[in-house]
């Protein structure tokens, strides 16, 4: 049975946070692996037509994931993700930033904080991703201006999405 589950996106202005919730038709063990093993992440993390390519993955507290979003023209945009508070099969937190290919942070770009929870429901799993900012930017103002995606997408995806829309 092919069934697409609805995605739910909530804004929490007070806490400068956006929450993305989605149900998957797979058990928590599988969904957890898909989020934490780079061989699997590479298969889905990049929105079309981009591809994710892992250079380094060390999924443990204090470990890092260094990967590139590779465009159809072969251009690469690097990101680094730092993991913490990993509770195996339940939740983990991450800090994600733009970087160069050696994982050196690009300070011109915003940093995002993630908290991902994996909650079993029936035969499937709910994934709740809280994406937040803690910098000085006035998040509420930004939201009002409709600028939110520019920040929440932080992972280069926006530029790529726009680029791909312009190509088509």
């Amino acid at each position: 049975m092919t069934q697409t589950n609805d995605i739910r996106i909530e804004k929490d202005l007070e806490n400068k946070r956006i929450t993305v919730t989605r149900y998957f038709n797979a058990n928590t063990d599988l969904v957890w692996r898909a989020w934490t093993e780079s061989e699997i992440l590479d298969q889905w993390w990049a929105p079309k037509p981009w591809k994710a390519e892992t250079k380094k993955m060390n999924f443990k507290d204090g470990g890092q994931w260094l990967y590139a979003m590779v465009g159809p023209d072969g251009s690469k945009h690097w990101s680094r993700v730092d993991f913490k508070n990993i509770k195996s099969g339940k939740s983990f937190e991450a800090r994600s930033c733009f970087s160069d290919e050696n994982g050196e942070q690009n300070n011109d770009m915003p940093t995002l904080y993630w908290k991902n929870q994996f909650i079993a429901e029936g035969e499937g799993t709910n994934v709740i991703s809280e994406i937040s900012f803690t910098n000085e930017v006035d998040f509420e103002m930004i939201i009002k201006m409709g600028f939110e995606a520019g920040f929440t997408m932080g992972l280069n995806n926006l530029a790529e999405l726009i680029a791909s829309k312009q190509l088509s």
Binding site: T4, I9, R22, K144, F147, E148
Partner: protein, 106 residues
């Protein structure tokens, strides 16, 4: 030359410039201090953003200040939709990956 808002924001440096100016109006010099690229490069980005009306300039005394133009940003309201689409695209891929994994583990 007509400038496209989305093209303007597709560039990461220009997005960073916008986020700074959205927070506080700035002179070109003050802005350039936030970036490693040359002043010339930064003023080129400012030019693009001004041409598509995302930035407005106002003279204050001897200095020119750049302001963020929220009206223009309304065009970008659909960004949340794109954010959603991005996640839908990503998660549809994940659905397929999970399906394959399930088949393998059986």
């Amino acid at each position: 030359m007509r400038r496209d808002v989305f093209q303007a924001i597709a560039d990461p440096t220009r997005r960073a410039i916008l986020s700074l100016i959205a927070f506080q109006a700035m002179t070109p010099n003050a802005l350039a201090e936030h970036f490693e690229s040359s002043r010339q490069a930064v003023s080129k980005h400012i030019k693009v953003l001004t041409e598509c009306e995302l930035l407005e300039q106002k003279q204050q005394g001897r200095e020119i200040y750049y302001y963020f133009n929220p009206k223009k940003m309304k065009e970008v309201d659909k960004w949340l939709d794109q954010f959603r689409q991005m996640w839908e695209s990503r998660y549809t891929k994940l659905d397929n990956v999970l399906k394959q994994l399930k088949t393998k583990s059986k």
